[in-house]
């Protein structure tokens, strides 16, 4: 058993280690920037997630000029695109329309939104005059700004993993705790069930659960159900490990003490045994966030997760399934790189935390 003092010094150790490790530090900064921009997405994004200009489907990213036509340095400005149909090649081309310059403005007025969901506001971080269009990362098939949608989609992609964990961990802890503490037939039965769930390839189970969702749901309902489904995939493996830990914890004296003063079984499990697994739970949580981000993106990529018109990084990549898009419209791939960067950052931080909390690796590290 660890004393409180030990736990505190351990926490300090985690932070010190995170600050010392160059990779982990960079990862922390990257994640901070990502979450910060997602929090202020309404303000940073030039457009809202549903703003669409039907004449501008698949427009390439706006070119931003800082040197004007006379070869002199100028404030950054951009031109709008003109849509032209090339009858010979049978395709739509976007040409730069040089008739009108649009200077980039800081804090221009744009669509109305609620700052942090509370304060009504219409200023955006950056933008151009209302007649012009600023597409930092081009547009998608409906003429929606990819950059803005990445910010709004990130809100879903980067939080869904955490939410799933908050559903999954109580279930896994309680299941594993009961199974381990009661032992005997209860244990055998509960563990056989968990093993059976684990024996179904997780991705198969995931897509089947997602596919049987009724289609007439609001986007909030769908989001919550996807969270629950993600949680249903992971609890079994987690419960098994918790059960193993409970088996060894329940033989200790403080559990016998609690039993002798007549504490109920559930109370012993929740109040006395499960708190002992905290450090494992923290490690397991940080290490499994990325896998849920990946699972959500995969599900949405297949069209079974978050649905249009809502954005998530996975469903934005759905358009990248077509050859034409991946060859001629590479800006549609940006969400993929963001998933990669986010998952990589979580992994690097998770590695460092494990190094600190896992006593074995700490022995080697010193």
């Amino acid at each position: 058993m660890k004393s409180d003092k030990g736990a505190i010094s351990q926490e300090i150790g985690v932070f010190r280690q995170l600050a010392c490790d160059k990779f982990a530090l960079i990862a922390l900064v990257v994640l901070f920037i990502i979450y910060f921009s997602l929090l202020f997405a309404d303000f940073i994004a030039p457009y809202s997630k549903d703003f669409s200009d039907r004449n501008m489907s698949y427009a390439p990213p706006s070119k931003i000029f800082t040197i004007n036509e006379h070869g002199k340095l100028s404030l950054p400005y951009t031109y709008s695109y003109k849509r032209e149909f090339d009858p010979e090649a049978m395709q739509v081309d976007y040409k730069i329309d040089r008739s009108q310059k649009y200077f980039l403005k800081l804090f221009p007025r744009g669509e109305k939104y609620k700052f942090l969901g509370l304060i009504p506001c219409s200023r955006h971080l950056i933008g151009v005059a209302p007649q012009g269009r600023l597409y930092l990362l081009g547009t998608d098939i409906n003429g929606r700004d990819v950059f803005s949608r990445i910010l709004f989609g990130g809100r879903i992609s980067m939080t869904i993993g955490f939410l799933a964990l908050f559903v999954l961990f109580p279930i896994g802890l309680l299941y594993g705790g009961i199974s381990g503490y009661f032992g005997g037939k209860v244990d055998t039965l509960m563990m056989r069930f968990a093993e059976a769930v684990m024996s179904i390839p997780s991705f198969y189970l995931l897509i089947i659960l997602a596919a049987i969702l009724p289609s007439n749901m609001t986007s909030i309902q769908r989001f919550m159900l996807i969270v629950v489904i993600l949680a249903l995939i992971g609890w079994a493996g987690f419960a098994r490990v918790v059960r193993g830990m409970v088996l060894s914890i329940k033989t200790q004296e403080f559990v016998q003490a609690a039993q002798s003063i007549g504490a109920s079984k559930l109370r012993i499990i929740i109040k006395h045994i499960l708190p002992q697994t905290t450090s494992y739970v923290i490690v397991a949580m940080t290490l499994s966030v990325p896998s849920y981000i990946l699972a959500e993106s995969g599900l949405s990529f297949l069209g079974l997760g978050i649905q249009q018109p809502d954005a998530s990084w996975g469903n934005m990549l759905k358009e990248a399934q077509e050859y034409i898009n991946i060859l001629y419209r590479p800006w549609l791939l940006t969400p993929g790189f963001l998933i990669f960067i986010a998952v990589l950052s979580f992994n690097l931080i998770g590695d460092t935390i494990r190094d600190v909390l896992d006593p074995k690796s700490r022995v080697r590290g010193s």
Partner: protein, 323 residues
């Protein structure tokens, strides 16, 4: 003899597991609001009699537990029903399972050949620049979403024209002679294998490194060194044998995660495997096909674990004594 009993016991244990798996999948699918015959009813080439026969076979007019027993009886007999196109499910599975097995075994083989030595190397050169570089590379490998990596490789294939995009065979496969048939399949396999290989290599290398580091820290290795054995002997005769055992247990899990990971990769590359089959079945809500491929996936997974356990008996004498 003892070993045989152990293996037999282990095989018998999988039966209740399979029954539980079938119960779980059956109730998940049947309790959903989807009509199991909706697709069949929409297909004009399916006759009324066939529909009637399917309704009777599935017992759709009877209570759900009766339906389960009817389904289970038919499943054991190998009668899996028909899918929404009217083909037999069993035939479809027979066509797809070898392809998925080919892909996954190839990937496991390659990851072991490359991952184990790299893990050993990283453990021996622990905390040197080489170890650091390998750690960074594996972090990158673990972070790429499989479908995104597959898309990037597709771009590469389309731009260079070096690799065929999609499928397992070319359109003129049947006219080829034996050697060019093999070359054709290999050519199609390169890209999907690369994706799955990159993703599963990282985990394997890390596990091997961690295991070997653990073992190298133990008393018997210290004793072997103190005895004056050469480093080579310490490593390959004492440490490695113990470090490899947990890897064999991992083999079963690796197989499981590969089955899952392969689904998305198969989807992007249009590879005719089990993963893509179940995906198409799910999207079309083709219940017979979903149920059958779910069970097939589970059986393959359980078999993978079983094989790993049996292999472990041969490599780890402790189990033999206990068993």
């Amino acid at each position: 003899m003892q070993m045989l009993i152990y293996i037999l016991k282990r095989i018998l244990q999988t039966i209740p597991l399979l029954i539980l798996v079938s119960l779980i999948s059956f109730f998940i699918i049947r309790l959903s609001p989807v009509d199991p015959l909706a697709e069949l009813k929409l297909n004009p080439s399916i006759s009324k009699e066939t529909l009637q026969k399917e309704t009777e076979r599935l017992g759709l007019d009877k209570p759900i537990y009766v339906q389960y027993f009817l389904w289970a009886k038919a499943f054991v007999k190998g009668d899996l029903g028909i899918c929404s196109t009217g083909e037999s499910v069993a035939g479809k599975l027979k066509e797809r399972i070898p392809n998925t097995l080919l892909l996954t075994t190839l990937v496991i083989f390659l990851t072991w050949i490359v991952g184990i030595p790299l893990g050993i190397l990283a453990a021996i050169r622990w905390k040197t620049p080489l170890d650091r570089i390998l750690t960074v590379l594996t972090s990158i490998g673990m972070a790429i979403p499989s479908f995104f990596f597959a898309i990037l490789l597709l771009i590469f294939a389309v731009k260079t024209g070096w690799f065929p995009v999609g499928g397992l065979t070319s359109y003129n496969f049947n006219d080829m002679n034996f050697s060019s048939k093999i070359w054709d399949i290999t050519h199609h396999l390169i890209l999907p294998t690369t994706v799955l290989f990159t993703i599963s290599l990282a985990g394997l290398q890390r596990q091997m490194r961690a295991n070997l580091l653990d073992v190298l820290d133990s008393d018997y290795v210290r004793f072997a060194r103190a005895k004056g054995l050469s480093e080579f002997k310490v490593l390959y005769k004492h440490a490695l044998r113990n470090a490899i055992n947990p890897m064999i247990t991992l083999l079963g899990f690796e197989f499981a995660s590969l089955l899952s990971g392969a689904a998305l990769t198969e989807y992007v590359f249009q590879y005719p495997g089990l993963g893509r089959l179940i995906l198409e079945a799910v999207l079309k809500s083709d219940i017979n096909l979903v149920m059958a491929s779910l069970m097939t996936g589970a059986i393959m997974l359980i078999l993978g674990n079983l094989i790993a356990d049996i292999l472990l008996i041969f490599t780890d004498p402790r189990i033999r004594v206990k068993g």
